[in-house]
Amino acid sequence: MNTQSEASSRGRDKSESEVLERIEAVRARGPRLRDETVTLAHGAGGKASAALVQAVFIEAFGAPNPLELCDAAVLTLPTDESKGSRGPVQDGSARPRGLVQAASLGPLGLAQESSAASLGPLGPTGLAQEGSAASLGPPEAACGVGAEDSLGAAGPRIALSTDSYVVKPLRFPGGSIGDLAVNGTVNDLAVSGARPLWLSAAFVVEEGLPIALLRGVVADMRAAADRAAVTIVAGDTKVVPKGAADECFISTAGVGVVPPGRNLGAGQVRVGDAVLVSSALGNHGMAVMMARGDLAFEADIRTDSAPVNHLVEALFAAVPDTRWMRDPTRGGLGTVANELASASGLGVMLDEASLPIEPLVRGACDMLGIDPLYVASEGCFVAVVPVEAVAVAVAALRDAGATAATQIGQIVADPPGLVAVRNAFGGVRLVDMLVGDPLPRIC
């Protein structure tokens, strides 16, 4: 009996493509959370993370579009005319309930603990809302930057992002938890189309941490903030008993302003568009892996941790109709490309030969059996631009210092909702969402 007759004798009369369609139907239902306890996989940025976020956080908080979650919320502030005239926010949009301790922003130095920094003139927008975020009224929350027209007489748009950093070790070649905590949040704002302005920083410190180490980390934060041209305006410090945290965790939140005219989102992406990347992939993840020193080999790999806001500005200046952007941090290019594919319903076809991956990173990944497509970068972003703008976009990024910027793929109709990569000799394979975390605690 050969495989064919065995298959039919078991009633396996479905064709391969029918099976694939059934699988896609199952996948379209979204991830389900079946675990009873949180495992490290829930923090890895892949399928389990998505399941946890959907089943626990989105379930409780809601989201304007649960299928397209972004690195930063873009919130449209009401104008004076609209303030109070809007009814309750529609179900599912972000409601800033009880946020009464927000900094009101300005170059005022640091607001400590729960006191609100009162914010001076908010850039060019002239907003000087004193006090709580609740007084901002019900904002329209959007993912990416939606068209302003749809909001009628809307006020300026701000982006709000928050992120926590638990990287181990605190220092690694080329960076530390400090610059990571600034760059990560700055970049989340930047790829949401915003110009980052202000950051808050909250520290959870384990007792026994040398002050000199903390001072060094904070100095790195200051240097990173200066480089990104943002100000750290509010902060908080908690010290916990030994063992209740591992040395030092940092949470940063950031606020930026979205200039008019920017329309980012998976809904903007069209078949034929080009996918770009600003720099080499995977350096951060492998640098931290090497820094832990528990591998049987060593390689001189440095983190790429850096702010990308000036690169994003250069791209917008060159290609105002840039469609979509994301920074491939935890979970890497493979994860963000999958987020794009599932949110747009289109396919992302990557070209393996054009992926910028440094030989040392590629070699280390090969030895560890890790796919570099899933390894984090921290000074890099992926963008989708109209195909006719590719040359202009790449040139603008390279002029702005992103010398490795290049096109890495294209938006395609088939396979819908999936990511695939074509290798140098024409073989095509799928790039799925990551399952499990080969590299825990890299950011």
Binding site: N2, L20, V428, L430
Partner: protein
Amino acid sequence: MRFVDEFRDPAAARSLLAVIEAQSDRLGRAFHFMEVCGGHTHTIYRHGLEHLLPEPIQFVHGPGCPVCVIPMGRVDDAVWLAGQPGVIFTTFGDMMRVPGTQGSLLQAQAAGADVRFVYSPLDALKVARDNPDREVVFFAVGFETTAPSTAVTLVRATALDVRNFSVFCNHVLIEPPLRAILDSEELVLDGFVGPGHVATVVGSRHFDFIPHEYALPIVVTGFEPLDILQAVEMLLAQYQTGRCEVENQYARVVRDIGNPAALALMEEVFEVRESFEWRGLGFIPRSGYAISDAYARFDAERRFAMPSIRVADPPACECGIVLKGLIKPWQCKVFGTACTPETPIGTCMVSPEGACAAYYNFGRLTRQTK
């Protein structure tokens, strides 16, 4: 990258594919070649080789994924060991997510067990030396490929007189499952893409029984995409010229006599079990290694009173007939719906070398997607 890019050269791939195309046309019939090793399965899907070859050339995925063949009862034992007071349980990362009846090691870790993943048994020995007040157990899995490194580790542990280290031995042999598949008569095969890594240890001659007793050709093969394409070309060439023999495509690494030093070491440290249970294949006589009496003090099975309860494979799971190559992964009843990489029912869906995981993660595209 040197020594890798050479084996992924597009021009060489295209010319090999053209040769295979011509061979396939001339031979004018279908061929089913079993790639024995999970590493090959991974390469085939990772590089999209299945759809590059002419349609009459089909790969049948074999039993050589070390994670896939571990039965549930052994996973339960591992989870039990990990839960013992004072134990640090060390394992290759792949084994962390394999489900037993009491959950996986990953879940045991989340529940408080000290489970650590390591890249080699020597790393596990280092954990033991760094934690002299803890019992450190290493979850040893794998064919003759990885068995020597476990053996070396125990020789080292003896030399260093490490007293808090033991090995839960699940090493298996390649020949018995191949014979089981060849004897089953359910499957018509036309040849084997032979396991290159195993052959570095046992030697290409070890596979003489396949042409001699079963009249099928085998090409011992490396793990780069070009290696596998060349193996297909060599297998088809045997049919064209009427030969049937063991050939060694992986001669840059594999010798016909293998690695005598490694074999001698394994002889010293291990003894072949009367019988060992394989996931989906059942008990196969003389198919697994246990720790020898000389190294008994490092044997976790003697050191701990493990429950060792045999557990039947989950009824929905068809890993057995997937491992035997009787069905393609997507033909399994639960493939991709109830059984996915994030919620695996069977082991084939866990390891990146498992046929189901490789197909789900990389190959879930139709031939039309080009």
